[in-house]
């Protein structure tokens, strides 16, 4: 049996004391799958995603990544996990508008152990080409449209070929065509044997394309 890529095990989380956002949530992320997390606003979908991405520590329970419990790992160890195995795709792209498109893509591996290598630069160019952004490579990210920005963010997330790609409302601000490009890229990424994608979405059409959907209920 193939071990899961990540799992949440009976996880509680509260941003403030006695204001529980997640209560006993468990989730297994299997390899080669795309998991959609849906639920009403404020139900803790993004929080679950950030727990999987080692951006938050659970109040209780365990978060396991690649077989290792990262709930109590040091900040440096969690940062290493994010820089190597985890990729993020945010709703608003979260690009650095002072940088060029190409530099923004390279940001994906800036903090990785090997840093920006020649191979990584070649991969970044290939990705930009693949998503029809080659002509914009040297342009400042501040001049991009929402759709272009999200595709650049997708290139950035895919550059390090993360084991676990976490997308938070990746199509929330996109037109249908760009949304379809982004979702197809995520689905393609998850088809590799050792990869998985988790998408937080409100969009039922996006959820329908995923291998499984996990619904989170808001706490009373």
């Amino acid at each position: 049996m193939t071990p899961p890529i990540a799992l949440l095990e009976n996880v509680d989380f509260a941003y403030r004391r006695e204001q529980l956002v997640l209560d006993g949530v468990s989730l297994v992320v299997e390899p080669s799958t795309v998991t959609a997390i849906t639920g009403p606003s404020g139900s803790g979908k993004s929080t679950a995603l950030y727990l999987l991405g080692a951006l938050l520590r659970p109040t209780a329970g365990r978060v396991v990544l690649g077989g290792q419990d990262i709930s109590k790992a040091s900040d440096a160890a969690r940062a290493r996990a994010r820089s190597g195995d985890i990729g993020f795709l945010f709703q608003d792209g979260l690009l650095d508008t002072s940088m060029s498109v190409f530099e923004n893509v390279l940001e994906g591996i800036r903090f990785a152990p090997d840093g920006v290598t020649r191979t990584a630069r070649a991969d970044a160019r290939r990705l930009l080409d693949e998503f029809g952004l080659s002509s914009l490579a040297s342009r400042r990210a501040s001049g991009l449209s929402g759709g272009q920005g999200q595709r650049v963010a997708l290139c950035r997330a895919l550059l390090k070929a993360p084991t676990l790609l976490l997308a938070d409302e990746p199509t929330g601000n996109l037109d249908d065509h760009t949304a379809s490009v982004v979702i197809n890229a995520l689905l393609t990424h998850a088809r590799h044997a050792d990869k998985a994608v988790v998408i937080v979405t409100h969009d039922e059409r996006v959820a329908a394309k995923c291998d499984r959907t996990v619904r989170i209920r808001a706490l009373e």
């Binding site: 941003y15 950030y50 900040d75 440096a76 940062a79 820089s83 945010f90 938070d168």
Partner: protein, 360 residues
């Protein structure tokens, strides 16, 4: 992150917030320039003052006899051998001879013939033992004008006239007027006083104490030196040094405060940037390093700018602070800026990225 990458990234980080970066740079430029100008000027004044008060006329100790025989030629010889004594003038009383030679007063003191080291006349020529120097009045009475080699016989003793003595010269101030040299003494005379010029770096009080101890009869001598001036010089030097230390401290404290404030403001303005980097794999320590280094780079540019301005201004004022002082000020300013930027950087790094990245 590799050091070179961290440096490049820090420079880029600084360029992202031009207003904050320029404010930080200007703060450091102003502080460095102010410190260099204030302290540099005060230091130059103190140095000038120190050089002035270290002139020989301010560094003379005179051992004066209160009763005949309290200072003998051996005492003069011992004093001349004291460490730090560079010139010595031993003076013998010639009251009787002078009264006889010059009606209404005249030469009242003389140079003792074993005078060891060169004492210059106002024209710069050394006075040798056995030679006479005298005031214009005395010279006129003797019918001499810049005469050299003329001998005067007085009760079996001979005196040689050297020439005019400038009443304002060092010799005049030491001798209190005319000085006369003795060519032949049948018995070693009792000295009236011994004046010693003490080298810079040797304490006048200590030398005076030693001179008293070396006298034939220490209870019958008194010392006279510009101790007050020495004290004033010391106080002035310490006051100037204290004021420049206080100014430098105030400037550095003000710079540290402004840098700390700016780094807090910059960290707050860069929360999304920081959150993005954290999501992309930057550890807290990397963020602290990035923000601190970024502030330090701006500070370094400011320090260079301030130093250049200060050096140009000081050069125009014909004052040049020493290189060590300039470098030390620059390094100190940079260190203060780096340390002051750490709390802001830590605050920026400690913010949970998830709180900023969440889309409501």
């Amino acid at each position: 992150m590799r050091p070179l990458q961290l440096l490049t990234e820090s420079a880029r980080q600084a360029s992202r917030r031009p207003i904050g970066t320029v404010a930080l740079m200007l703060t450091l430029a102003t502080s460095t320039a102010s410190i260099l100008l204030l302290v540099g000027t005060a230091k130059a004044t103190a140095d000038k003052f120190a050089v002035e008060v270290e002139q020989p006329q301010f560094r003379t100790v005179t051992l004066r006899s209160k009763s005949p025989g309290a200072i003998d030629p051996a005492t003069a010889a011992r004093i001349s051998a004291l460490g730090g004594v560079s010139d010595e003038l031993a003076v013998v009383s010639l009251t009787t001879a002078s009264n006889a030679a010059f009606a209404g007063g005249g030469p009242s003191v003389g140079l003792y013939e074993t005078l060891q080291r060169g004492l210059l006349t106002s024209s710069g020529r050394p006075i040798n033992a056995g030679e006479v120097a005298m005031t214009p009045t005395a010279s006129a009475q003797l019918g001499l004008v810049n005469g050299v080699g003329t001998l005067v016989d007085e009760r079996g003793r001979q005196w040689a006239a050297v020439g005019l003595l400038d009443p304002d010269s060092d010799v005049a101030s030491l001798g209190g007027g005319t000085v006369v040299g003795v060519t032949s003494e049948r018995s070693p005379p009792a000295l009236e006083y011994v004046s010693a010029v003490v080298d810079v770096g040797h304490d006048l009080r200590t030398t005076a104490l030693w001179m008293t101890r070396l006298a034939t009869d220490p209870t019958q001598v008194e010392t006279d030196f510009n101790g007050q001036l020495d004290v004033v010089a010391g106080s002035a030097k310490s006051a100037l040094s204290g004021s420049r230390r206080a100014s430098a401290r105030a400037m550095l404290a003000a710079a540290a405060g402004v840098v700390a404030f700016l780094s807090f403001a910059l960290a707050a303005a860069q929360r999304r940037d920081v959150a993005r980097r954290r999501a992309l794999g930057a550890a807290r320590s990397t963020i602290v390093g990035l923000l601190t280094l970024s502030a330090s780079l701006s500070a370094a540019t400011g320090v260079l700018l301030g130093t250049t301005v200060a050096l140009v201004v000081l050069h125009q004022r014909a004052s040049s602070p020493d290189a060590t002082f300039v470098c030390a000020t620059g390094v100190l300013c940079m260190l203060v800026a780096a340390v002051a930027s750490i709390p802001g950087a830590m605050l920026g790094a400690v913010t949970e990225p998830a709180r900023i990245l969440r889309v409501p």
